[in-house]
Amino acid sequence: MIEKRDYFQLLLHFLLIVVLSLIQIIYPIFVSEILTVQSTVNSVFVIVCSLIVGKMIVNICDLILSGSMYWNFFKRLRMKLIHNLIYMDYEDILKRSVGELTQTVENDSSQVIEFYLVFLMTLLKDILFLLGVVCIAFIKSWIIGVSLIVMLIFLFIVFRWINKVSEVKWAQTKQAYQNLFDMFSMCYLMMTELKKINRESYLEKKLNTFIRFAFKSDLISGFISYQLWISTIFSFGMIKFIVLLIGCTQNINLSFIYLFVYYIDLLDDPIYELRTQMENIPSAKKAQERVFALLKIKSKLHFGTKLLNSNICCIDLDHVHFGYNENLVLKDCSLHFENGNIYGLIGPSGSGKSTLINLIAHLYEPQSGTIYINNVGLNEYKEKETLKEIEYIGQNEKNMNPYEIVDPYHRYSREKIENDLGYTLNDELSKGQLQYLYLYKALMSSKSVIILDEIFSYVDMDKIKNAFSKFKEMKKIIIVVTHEKEVMQFCDSTISMEDL
C-alpha cells in the first residue's frame, strides 16, 4: 500500500518538523534576553522577526504536505476495504454484522490513519521540542533541568496510567452508544408495526434504559479527558512554581527565569494536542485490529480455468454435504436439473432451500460431494463464469425504484416496459404490482437458468399462470422456491427439502 513517493513525502514531513522544532526552541532565547539586556541592538530584533516569519512559512508548507498525505492514505485504505468487502465470500459477510462492517470501513479506517500520520508526528514534534528545552535547562541550571525531567516523567506516568485505566471504559462507552443506536434502528423499523398492536411503550421503555446506560458510561469515560487536562495543568503549574522559586532563592539572571516561563506557555498547545490524540489511543488500537482483520480475509472458494461457452443444460448434485459450523443442512444430497423443466423447491423454513441455491451459484462450496454444471465440476470453471448463465431473482432490494428492479442496466426502454406491464413505473405502485416486476424481470431474462426465490406473494394467480405458460415454452432450467401450493401445480417436478 505504501509507495515510493510516500516515503519521500514522509521524509520531507519529518524534516519540516525538525526545522519547526528548532525555530521553536531558539526564538524564545532572544525574546527573554531582551528583558534584561536593555539594548537597542537592531540585529536581535531582525533575528526574532525572521525566525517568526520563517516559522510561519514552514508551518504552511507542512500543512499542505501532511493534508495531502492524510487524504491520500485515507482514500487508498477506504478503497481497499471496500474492494475486500465486495469480493469477499458471501459466507464471510454472513458471519459479521452489518453494523460492525460499516463501523470498520467508515470510522476505524480514518482512525488508523489519524493515529499513524497525526498522532505519531505530533508526538515526534513534541519530543524534539521537549528535548531542546531540557538541554537548555541543563546548560544554565541543573536544578531546573532535573525538575523539568522529573515533571515530564510524572506526566508520562500519569498519562500512561490514565490510558491504561481508560481503555476498558472507552470500549464500554463505545459499546453502550452502539447499543443505543442499534436500539434506535429497531425503533425506526418496528414503531409502525408495534403501534398497530398498541405496544409502542415497549420501545420507549427499552430505549430509555439504553440512553441511561450510555450516559452513565459516558460520564465515566468523558471524565478521563479532564483528568488528562488536570494533570497537565498541575505539572506545568509546578514547574512554573519551581522556576519562580529558584529565581528568588538562587542568584540567576531574571531573563533566564523568564525563558522558562515562556517555554511553559509554549508547551501548552503541543501538550494539548498530544492529550486529545492520546484519548484516542485505546480506540485506535481496537480500530486497527478490526481494519487488519478485514484486510486479511481471503476467499476460500476454489476456481478453475474452464469457460462456459454454451447455455447451461443440466445441473447435477452428487452426494453433496453442507452445513454451517457442525450443523448439517444438506446431507448426502443428489439432484438432477435439466433444461426445459420447471422445478419447485419446497420445505419448511430453515430446511436448506437458500443454501441449495447458494451452492449452485457457487457462493458456497460443499463440504463433500460435487456439483456439476454441464457435466463439469463447478470448481473447474473460471471465477464467476457459471453466473453468466444464472439469473437469481429474489425480493430483497427494498430501496430500489421500480425501474431499477426491472432493468438495472437500462437495456430496454422505459416505454416498452411500461407498455408490457400495462402500468407506469412510479412510486405509488401497490405491493402486487411491485411484486409482479420481479416475475416480469424473470420473463425478460436471456439467461438459461432462472431461480425465482419467493417472489409470488401478492401477485394475482392468473398473472402467475400466464408467466408459467411462457416459462414452459422456453428451453431453460427454472427453479422456483415457494410455499404456495397453487404455484407448485405449475411445476414439472417438486423437490421437497425435507425428504433429502
Binding site: 531582551i34 493534508g67 443506536f181 506557555d265 419446497i346
Partner: protein, 425 residues
Amino acid sequence: MIDVIKSSKLYFFLDVVIWFVAHNLPILIGLLIQTYFDGDNTIFIASCVCGLVLIQIVCILIGAKVDITAQHKWANFMYKKAYTAIEQSEIEAKQGEFINALNEDVNEIVGTISYMIDTACNLIYGIIVIVILGHIDISLTAFVTLFPILAIGLNSLIKKSVEKYSIQSKEYSNRFSEELLNLLNHSREIRVSRKEDDYSNSLDEIVNQQKCIELKFSVFKGLFSTFSSAVTDCNLIVTIFWYMHFKTLSPGAYVLFITYSFDLSSLAIYMSTLIVSLQSTKVYIQDFYKKIENKKRNRIVIDDPILSKIEYNSINVLVGKNGSGKSMSLEYINTQLPDSVMLPENYHLMDVSKKENICLNQAVDYDNLFLEDILNEHVGNDNLSGGQQFRMVLMRTLLTDAKIILIDNNFMSVDSKLRKKYLNI
C-alpha cells in the same frame, strides 16, 4: 439550538458560572508574575502562583462533571425529539441517515453549545485583560488588540466557503454510508448477478470525490488556523519593538504584555473556531431536523362501507386484484376501530430472547405449540427463516387482547400444515 439549551437551563447556568471562574484565574496568575519580574521576586509570590493553580484544578474538576451532565441533558432532549418523531408516523429519511443524524449531528450540536460557553467565558477574560493592559500602556494595547480582531474578521469572511465545504463533505459522507449499506444488505444479489464491478466503481468514485473535497477543506481550514496563530507572533514583534524602542515599559509589564497577548490570540482562535463551527452546526441542526421530518401521507378515505361488513368471531377474508387497495382498506379499518390490531406486510424482530420478542415485557404467556423449533436464546432477524419470523410475529399479534385482528399477509411463508392450525385459533 435555543430550544436545546432551554431544555436544561439549570445546567446551562451552572456550566457558565463554573467555567467563568476556572477560565479567569489565569488573569491573577499573570498579574502575580508581573510583580515578580518587577523586582518583587519573593517566595510569597511564587507560592501564590502555586495556590492559584491548585484552585483552578479544583474548579475544573467540578466543571467537568457539570459540563458532561449538561451535554447529556441536551443530547437526551434531542434523542427524545427523534423518538417522538418516529412515534408520530413514518419518517422521510432512510434508516442509515436517521441513525447517522443521531450519532453525528447530536454530538456536534451538543459539543458546540459547550464550546460556546467556553468561548463566552474566554471573551470576558479577554475584556478584563484589555482593561488591565490599557491601564499600563494604552497605545500598545490598541496594537495588541488590533491583531486578534483582524484575525476574527478574516475568519468570519471565510464563513461562507466553510459552510459550502461542510455541506459538500456531509453530502459525500451520507452518500458513502448509503451506498455501503446497500452493498452489505444486498451482498447476495450482488454476487449472484455479478454486479461487483458496478458497486466497486461507484464507491471508488464517491471516495475519490470525497477525498478531493476533504483535502481542499482541510487545507483551507488549516491555512486560517495558521493565520490565527500568526497573531501571537505579530503581537510579540510589536511588544518587543515597543519595549526596546520606547523604553517606557518595566520588565514586568513586558512579561505581562507577552503573556496576555498569548491569551488574546488563543481567544481569537477560540472565537474563529466558534464562528466556523457555529456555521457548520447550523448545517448539522438543519440536517437533524430534516432527518426527523415525518412523511407526508394522504389520509386514507374509503367509500365502501367496509366497516359494517366485518363479522366478529369469524374469519373475514379480503380479496382483490393487485393494486385494488386491500392493504389500504386494512390500514383504514385499523385507524377507524380502536379495538383492532394489525400485522402489517413488513415486520421485524428484536435481537432479544424469544419470550421478550413475543410478550414484549408484558405479563402474558404464549403458546409454544407452533414455535417449538425456535430456540429460547437470542433470536434476531438474521438467524430465523422467513417462516419462523412470521410465526413469532403472528404470536406477538395474537397475544394482544384485541377483538379484531387484521393480517395483511397471505401466509405465504408458512407451510400449509401450520397454516391450518393457525386459522383454528
